[in-house]
């Protein structure tokens, strides 16, 4: 659920620490541009440890909450009960 893994190219030292820290395998390496990118953005858990671990402070996580699938917090019947209660 990440919109962008923003990388400050001037700061990035290409150490690939960000790849190592990503426990969900979201970050890939763009060999052409020699920098990280969000290869599997859907699976980012927004732990932001990549930001923390980057020795150059070159990474910013920009979330996209809309990417995440959020199931209902009540069953269909439960939702209807709440609606009925609200409508008196």
């Amino acid at each position: 659920m990440i919109r962008e893994l923003r990388v400050d190219a001037a700061r990035c030292t290409h150490c690939r620490q960000c790849l190592d820290v990503c426990s969900t395998n979201v970050i890939g390496w763009d060999e052409g541009r020699d920098r990280p990118y969000a290869q599997f953005p859907l699976d980012c858990q927004l732990c932001c440890i990549c930001e923390d671990a980057c020795p150059a402070g070159a990474i910013t996580v920009i979330p996209n909450w809309g990417l995440k699938y959020y199931p209902d917090y009540l069953s269909k019947g439960g939702m209807e009960r709440v609606k009925r209660a609200h409508n008196g």
């Binding site: 990503c22 859907l42 927004l46 920009i62 009540l74």
Partner: protein, 547 residues
């Protein structure tokens, strides 16, 4: 990691290999880095017997393995002190003593470096522990009910991997159904153990109430739950404290009564339910002793979510955290398969130490990491002792080539399909059954059968799953585990016809003596078998039980 370190400390000549889906060799694995860096333990001035009694009465509702409970109570402080030998930094006072938050409960909470596994990985390498990073394990190798190793694939290269071992410790987390960000374990450990022939225990207690926040845009956000734990005592509806209305007093976190209160108020149309951030901040400042790095990390996550952190009310909805950690282990962390052990989140509930709650941390914030350390060090010691005997008494094992070919074909089956369903579609279908709180922690027979129908739909999708790359192949493994775990959760929940701990049934609202037992579930042909297991209360024989 604690299992690997302990194994080496018991026998430096033993060959220890850590296989991990993430990057354990550099300490980036597990939940430690993504949690609050808290360790709760029976500290100075706290009574271990009182801890055991509190856990039995107030948390586990009689379903605790009291032998383990007591062992934890008497050893937790020693385990915390031992961390410094592994290079782990714990918050200390200027005089060098451990800085702890003191609760009105029989435990204390210390702040630990959330990146503790980095230090532990360095120490492990110093000890000679080997690592295989980025490997997804798909099957345990079992022959004549004895563990022989495991197979899997490398998530980056796709290479098929075969590991042979005299003993194996499963420590790859619990099942969270990937509903709450950062709380994203997918239950592979549960499926590996179940398929290998192990019993799972306390599956029905694997869902607990936690709240999600409703953002300014009306979007529901699971998981940004800072304040959830102590906040259970401060849920308000139109100025009235409903936590106190439903269960007066101050309680340790994740209280099932408080969670039920806010579900009942919501369902009665009395929402919105709100929490005041200041209440949490006040208490957390006094009672929690966060490591500065953990505090900074939590603040960052809240920042990007745009949540209030200071003096504001915010609206919450009743959500769930599933924490299926049900591999049944004995007092040496052994499973039903000889040579196979389990530790940490994989077997927290299955050990029965915590009782009728998802486990641990369950109701004691900060015992998740403690549980991993406790079970890890026990399993490391047990596994190394048994491995020593196995190595001396039996010939090395190698899987016949045709069986390896079969396992290879099964592993890549989802990639070999030309068309099919995305694993994410299957996962979302399972989540439809595992997210509603009136399926998970306020249950009824009718609703659970409805949820089982949803799980059956997800199960029917499995043979058509298709992966386009190795990352998606790992999601297929996750989806299979989620379907199994969801099914087991509802089957065992239907079987327990009472309310106890975090298993609340509207159709059986009272606790029943008939269910003073554990429910074990295991594979039975193509189906499952659920059996009662008596709790050996008389063997615990503690003086305070007679009071």
């Amino acid at each position: 990691m604690s299992a690997a370190l302990t194994a080496k400390e018991c026998n430096q000549d033993v060959d220890v290999l850590v296989v991990d889906k993430a990057c354990a060799s550099k300490g980036w694995a597990g939940k430690a880095a993504r949690t609050a860096g808290l360790l709760s333990f029976v500290g100075q001035g706290k009574d271990p017997e009182e801890f055991a009694r509190y856990c039995l009465k107030e948390i586990g509702f009689g379903l605790n393995d009291q032998y383990l409970l007591r062992e934890f109570a008497y050893n937790s402080r020693r385990i915390v002190e031992h961390l410094s030998n592994w290079g782990v930094e714990i918050e200390r006072n200027p005089d060098g003593s451990m800085a702890v938050g003191v609760w009105p409960f029989p435990w204390v909470t210390a702040g630990v470096d959330p990146d503790m596994c980095r230090a532990m990985a360095c120490k492990a390498k110093e000890y000679g522990v080997r690592f295989a990073d980025r490997v997804v394990i798909t099957r345990l190798l079992v022959k004549d009910n004895r563990i022989r190793g495991a197979v899997g694939f490398h998530i980056l290269t796709g290479d098929f991997q075969v590991f042979y071992a005299d003993t194996v410790i499963l420590a790859c987390g619990s099942q969270n159904f990937d509903i709450t960000p950062s709380w994203c374990s997918t239950g592979v450990s549960q499926k590996l153990a179940f398929d290998a022939g192990c019993r799972l225990r306390n599956v029905e207690f694997c869902g607990m109430g936690d709240f999600g926040r409703i953002g300014p845009d009306g979007q529901r956000y699971y998981g940004q739950h800072s304040g959830a734990h102590t906040g259970h005592d401060w849920l308000f509806v139109r100025g009235e404290n409903i936590s106190q209305k439903w269960r007066p007093g101050f309680h340790s976190s994740m209280d099932p009564y408080a969670a039920n209160a806010w579900y009942q108020e919501t369902i009665a149309g009395n929402g919105p339910v709100e929490v005041h951030m200041e209440q949490f901040n006040e208490q957390s400042g006094e009672l929690f002793h966060f490591h500065p790095k953990a505090r900074k990390r939590m603040a960052r996550v809240e920042d990007i979510a745009g949540y209030p952190r200071e003096h504001e009310w915010y609206e919450v909805f009743p959500g769930v955290i599933s924490e299926m950690s049900a591999i049944r282990v004995g007092h040496s962390m052994q499973t039903d398969v000889a040579g196979l052990f389990a530790a940490g989140d994989a077997a927290g509930a299955g050990s029965a130490r915590a009782g009728a709650v998802p486990a641990p941390p369950a109701k004691i914030h900060g015992t998740g990491l403690m549980n991993a350390l406790f079970m890890g060090s026990k399993s490391g010691e047990s596994a190394v002792l048994l491995a020593d005997v196995q190595r001396k008494t039996s010939a090395p094992y190698e899987l016949p080539e045709e069986e390896l070919d079969q396992l290879r074909t099964e592993t890549y089956a989802c990639m070999d399909r030309e068309s099919g369903i995305s694993p994410y579609d299957v996962i979302h279908r399972v989540q439809d059954a595992m997210a509603p709180c009136d399926y998970i922690f306020v249950k009824s027979g009718e609703r659970m059968r409805e949820a089982l129908d949803i799980v059956a739909q997800a199960k029917a999708m499995l043979p058509e799953m298709r992966a386009e790359n190795y990352h998606e192949l790992s999601k297929c493994v996750d989806a299979q585990a989620m379907v199994l775990c969801a099914e087991l959760f509802f089957l065992t929940s239907l079987e327990r016809k009472e309310s106890r701990g975090f298993h609340l049934r509207e159709d059986y609202p009272d606790q029943s003596d008939q269910y003073d037992c554990w429910l074990d579930v295991c594979k039975d042909g193509d189906g499952v078998s659920i059996n009662r297991e008596e709790i050996p209360d008389e063997s615990y024989d503690y003086p305070w039980q007679k009071q």
